[in-house]
Assembly symmetry: D3
Homo-oligomer: 132 residues x 6
């Protein structure tokens, strides 16, 4: 099994609802350093898993919809805690939607899966892994 990973980042404000979050119940924020991994059993005719330039653009577009925002004000996240693990899924699902819509080119049909990891600090990170 092959994989290719690209790294980018986003910066957001949010608060988290629930006693378990302690001081993070207050409005605060985070930088997420985001690693998006694309998996595929065989390489295409060019010898690649995915066009890395296109993949970087798609990742940047997905992060651009989220970044430099207060996620508490975004309708799509109403009633949901935007935890690191939940956002890993959001990014992963949006990458999958764009891949299926053709944004990664024809070869993306051969992709087996995606993993998205969001690093919230040097001591904590979360991932979501899904088939494609």
């Amino acid at each position: 099994m092959f994989s290719v990973t690209i790294r980018d980042h986003l910066m957001i404000a949010h608060s988290l609802q629930g006693e378990v979050f302690g001081p993070a119940q207050r409005l605060h924020g985070a930088t997420y350093v985001v690693d998006a991994t694309f998996r595929r059993a065989t390489l295409d005719a060019d010898g690649i898993v995915v066009d890395i330039g296109r993949a970087a653009e798609v990742l940047r577009a997905v992060l651009g919809e989220l970044g430099y925002r207060n996620l508490d004000d975004e309708v799509e996240f109403a009633g949901m805690n935007t935890t690191t693990e939940a956002l890993a899924r959001v990014v992963s699902d949006r990458l999958a939607d764009r891949a299926r819509a053709g944004a990664l080119g024809d070869g993306a049909g051969e992709l087996d899966g995606l993993v998205v990891t969001l690093h919230e600090s040097h001591v904590a990170w979360a991932s979501y892994e899904r088939p494609l």
Copy 2:
């Protein structure tokens, strides 16, 4: 599949028995930078894999039983080489024991597995992965 990882570290002295270890047969030591990963298929009602504050406390407690010690003097490791891979298992099994005993809260019953990685330097690390 979701996962959350937290990082901490411990510092120990030990020696390793067997020709394969060369100069590491002498009493020496190591800093292990420890990554503990908790896996779970779905998020709980708060939108998390595990209470990260509690998980960090439990990891610190497990590492506190090992750190700032000469492992050659610890009865529990008599007759056993405390290699990086063996210690990854020790930390993993102790985290699992505490999870089952309730230290991570009720939601820990939903955890699917654990991975513990011990980095012994910038060029070598070892992991142990187990179900929970």
Copy 3:
């Protein structure tokens, strides 16, 4: 010249005023991974630059006054952009104040200077260096 550095982090929300900031004029946030460096020409009788345990507590206390907050709401930052470089100075000056007030012990009188670096992502960081 000797130095000792310790790392911690903080997570905040804020917005930045001025066209130069582009989308960062909107309310967003950041994780800052913070490196605090203490400099000293000679070691003390224990062979150290500073009591690293105390230094870590003082750094945590200073970051605790800032973290898990929306800096736009903090009176002390009214009329000031809380850029990464400006916050590096804030953290540095507050560490210096506490050092002078004795929080690092008597030996802190021998410290020559401080450097504080705030990493806002894997591709950008800022520092402030000052005498002590």
Copy 4:
């Protein structure tokens, strides 16, 4: 499941054929920071996955066949794009060949699999995973 990873690097020149590669169609080069992971279900009598000294030598030997070369001139890569993902497979397969030939010692027969990751920069890397 246990694993042990060792890190080394190689530096090569090459060009990539195909419009998808944009400016990388020109002769250029790369440093690949290489992580080789060895997996095994149980530890041997010494408490290890593999003799890490031998594994490091074998990895260095495999990388030595590739490094400080223009891969465009190497007969073995004629007609093939030496992308990061393709080279991850080359390194992985050569490590597997040497393991089967006894270079890692007798215990290598118990190894379950290999993962090789090549980091081409701080923002992109590729892996190949295979059984052994």
Copy 5:
């Protein structure tokens, strides 16, 4: 003293002339992860050392002149070894030229100095520091 650092990278082919370089006398290549640090005694009216967006564009432009090339074929490097330390100076001097030409805005006149670090692997890097 304040500083701001931004990170980018470039990938080149080259060879190095002189016995001291051993196998690196052959045509090979490197990824350089590049850190450009801008120093300034005081912040501007916006609270910044430099417009980080502009600085990133200028760094990318400078690296774009070098990247995805065989430096042995570039007239400007004829008769010169393009070592990591020599390239750190090239990048630094070109950033300084562009700063003086206004590419970083008016505030760049207040910059005191530049440091450019090129990381050629996880175990070796070189820097060049100059006034501005």
Copy 6:
């Protein structure tokens, strides 16, 4: 000013005497990831600060005298706490001695200074800087 840095590591056991060290008064150990930086105002005729191959050998030799040992048993450290900052000086002074003795070649006479940094974990490190 130019500089070149190389990274290596060592693993030792030791204990630290003095209440300030808390649990580190017990016999324990550490991995030190060591960065040795060589500074020089101008490059030599080959375009380098120092022969990096030789510098790596000299660093390895210096670390080899310390590594895989219990520093409490070494006569040279009797009556001295082998703190991270103190060891940074030891490594630095020994590199300087070898440089003056010719181990880095003739060009080493042009070196202006050395910085040695020992990383004891992902959250703490110490440096010693000296002229040469």
